[in-house]
Symmetry: C2
Subunit: 183 residues, 2 copies
DNA sequence: TAATATCAGTTGCATGTTGCAAGTGATGAT
DNA sequence: ATCATCACTTGCAACATGCAACTGATATTA
């Protein structure tokens, strides 16, 4: 079972420190705003990249996430998978064919993050230098409903075919200025 | 001018450490994925909350952000405002009527994050215990285009009327289980 | 004009988080 | 039996965060 830590530092802490992000549900210092609460649940970089990889790359396992090219540390990856499982955004199940492996999957709650990921994708491709093909992203931006429906269909049917490839790292430098980009 | 630090720790660092999120544009370890790059630009919790406050609460000043009820530290707030300015997501201009104040504003690039924030809001209200009125969020979810158009209109016309109130902290506990929520 | 308050930060330091690299235990392949 | 693989755990160094006090500039008040 993932995340079965023998002990955790800070576990015996008293009251949560004022101002520190309330990672635990019972922390008393928490805004009631849905955006704030969402960010507490999954808002860190690595969690969102795990969700991305599950959603659009068809990844399922710890090793696939680790080899995504983003440079995540194994202890952080393990910790995020545990947190996302606890939050009910993903599930973990042992691979029947290979007991070493754990297969992760988005839950209903998790797949509902598809619109968030799609908007991040569209924004990033429009405003930053990326390795994403312009035509591909433009098409996704024009057909949001269709893309989201397809994301959901692949999730429902456990179809691991990637919706997006792994974008090369090396292509980012040297791309021309984006149209309309300011600042 | 905001963020004009006398000195910054880490500024004389050599090569960026492998695996550390590439906060600087020239870092060599960066995925080409738009989602990953977006998260590097503004993906941390406090940055997103600043953008939220500019976008839907009509906040403009350092003090307003600080008093948002989220518990942000002043050094972190100052740092995030500087980074968001550098990234071209917000601008800072001195208040003509009061030279002590700096008024922050979303840029074109920044207001384009409205769909991301709206999806976070909708997801959070649907899947977590929040203090947001259900009818209000349901209405926003049903009329995404209209809400986004209104967000843009208020931005364009520098209309600081809040689109959303500050949700109380105290209401989060004790709300009934959300419909359809699992985990 | 002097005293006080406000604004936007800065600072030093303690604490928490992140990430490296080595390592572990269970399992599968040879 | 040996080796490789998978999903982690571990100890520790480096970095990030946040507290509380503080600063300089500016506005308000007496």
């Amino acid at each position: 079972m993932p995340g079965k830590a023998k002990s955790r530092r800070g576990e015996v802490r008293g009251e949560a420190r004022a101002g520190r992000p309330a990672a635990k549900a019972q922390s008393p210092r928490r805004s009631g705003c849905p955006v704030s609460i969402s960010l507490e649940t999954f808002g860190d970089r690595w969690s969102l990249l795990i969700i991305r990889d599950l959603m659009v790359r068809g990844f399922r396992t710890f090793k696939e996430f680790h080899d995504s090219g983003e440079g995540v540390a194994t202890n952080i990856l393990a910790e995020r998978l545990r947190k996302l499982t606890t939050a009910g955004i993903i599930t973990a199940e042992c691979d029947q064919a290979d007991a070493r492996r754990i297969n992760y999957r988005l839950t209903e709650k998790g797949i509902d993050l598809a619109p968030v990921l799609l908007e991040l994708l569209v924004w990033g491709a429009r405003h930053e230098h990326t390795a994403a093909p312009c035509a591909l992203i433009a098409n996704m931006a024009e057909n949001r409903e269709r893309v989201l429906a397809e994301v959901r269909r692949r999730w429902r049917e456990r179809d691991a075919t990637p919706l997006l490839p792994k974008f090369s790292d090396a292509e980012v430098e040297g791309k021309s200025e984006k149209r309309g980009r300011k600042g």
